[in-house]
């Protein structure tokens, strides 16, 4: 296939800004993972097989707080639930790919990958695995590598609080929350989850503030009047790395 190589390189080019933006967070993940009690190997494993930045950070936050493993898994799933929508939306664009290729492509379906694929399909360019992997592979390989580098550095830091490292996750999560702000009903959902989680934190206690607070936000989202002109299939990607 003479067209394969240029398509792959086009994909690589599309990956470059994402690779640059994700790099600090890839390394931060590794450093915080070690800080939160994972081994270097476990940190690398998590980046390699979960490959979803925000949810990996959520997992870390909980690894350190002695919560039952199933709550960690549930929280990771909740944060990654948006991928269900990406998958449903993108699946219709992958008609050219045979089943196994789709199965492979879905593993690499990060937020930027979804955004770029939709944009490419919008320009009426058929989505092929060559382009898709050209974009996905650099992001993936560096993400895993960064976890390893970050973890090695993280194990050198003996007093994380002195460098503010123990408080980076809440700041990071706040950034992600703000990244979703164009979604309908965002403000009432955030207020409900915020108040709900604070109330649960002081009454029921950690880690239940996560599920109870999130439940409060989701209930508010369901009760809000559906927005006029809000197309059910318009899935907006957010700026999350990767």
């Amino acid at each position: 296939m003479s067209r394969s190589r240029p398509e792959f390189l086009e994909g690589v080019r599309a990956s470059l800004p994402i690779v640059a933006a994700a790099a600090p967070f890839g390394m931060l993940f590794g450093a915080l993972a070690v800080d939160n009690g994972l081994t270097v190997g476990e940190a690398v494993l998590m980046s390699a097989i979960v490959f979803a930045g925000a949810s990996q950070m959520v997992g870390l936050e909980l690894f350190s707080s002695h919560v039952p493993p199933w709550i960690i898994v549930l929280s990771v799933f909740a944060v990654n639930f948006r991928h269900v929508l990406y998958s449903a939306a993108l699946g219709r664009r992958l008609g050219l790919m045979p089943g196994w290729q789709k199965g492979l492509a879905f593993f690499f379906l990060t937020d930027p990958q979804y955004a770029a694929s939709e944009a490419r399909a919008d320009r009426k360019i058929p989505l092929r695995l060559t382009w898709y992997m050209g974009m996905a592979l650099p992001i993936y390989v560096l993400w895993v590598l960064e976890a390893w580098i970050g973890a090695l550095f993280g194990s050198l830091i003996t007093d994380p609080a002195a460098f503010g490292i123990d408080f980076l996750l809440p700041i990071y999560f706040l950034g992600l929350v703000l990244g979703f702000r164009s979604r309908p009903g965002w403000l009432p959902v955030v207020i409900a989850s915020g108040l709900g989680s604070i109330a649960a934190f002081y009454t029921v206690g950690s880690p239940w503030h996560v599920s109870l607070g999130a439940l409060a936000g989701v209930i508010v989202a369901m009760l809000l009047p559906p927005q006029a002109g809000d197309e059910a299939h318009d899935v907006e990607p957010v700026e999350v790395t990767p």
Partner: protein
């Protein structure tokens, strides 16, 4: 969590399970949701709200249950985060927490 189960650390099991549910979300949307012609609006609204709702619960208690430095940092980040990109806000927040803690707050 430092236990071992079947010779494998519990952390590794947890990571494996997290990987499976993540792949499940990424493949499952196509396999399950694409069978529906339309997603009911309220279900769609609920699904859309999940990430922000979950992530908020990791911020709000952290803002009120720590010290003054932590509360001030998150408040400042909330305001500037509406105007500047995520990466810049993150950098400012990092500098702030270190500065405020050094100042003894």
């Amino acid at each position: 969590m430092n236990g071992v189960f079947w010779g494998v650390p519990v952390n590794v099991w947890t990571i494996l399970a997290a990987a499976i549910v993540t792949y499940g979300a990424r493949a499952g949307g196509h396999l399950v949701l694409s069978r529906f012609k339309r997603i009911p609006p309220r279900i769609d609204a609920a699904l859309n709200a999940v990430p922000a709702a979950v992530l908020t619960t990791l911020v709000a208690p952290a803002a009120v249950s720590n010290g003054t430095a932590e509360a001030l940092t998150l408040a400042a980040c909330l305001i500037i985060g509406l105007r500047i990109p995520m990466m810049a806000m993150f950098a400012v927040g990092w500098a702030l927490i270190v500065a405020l803690r050094t100042a003894g707050l």
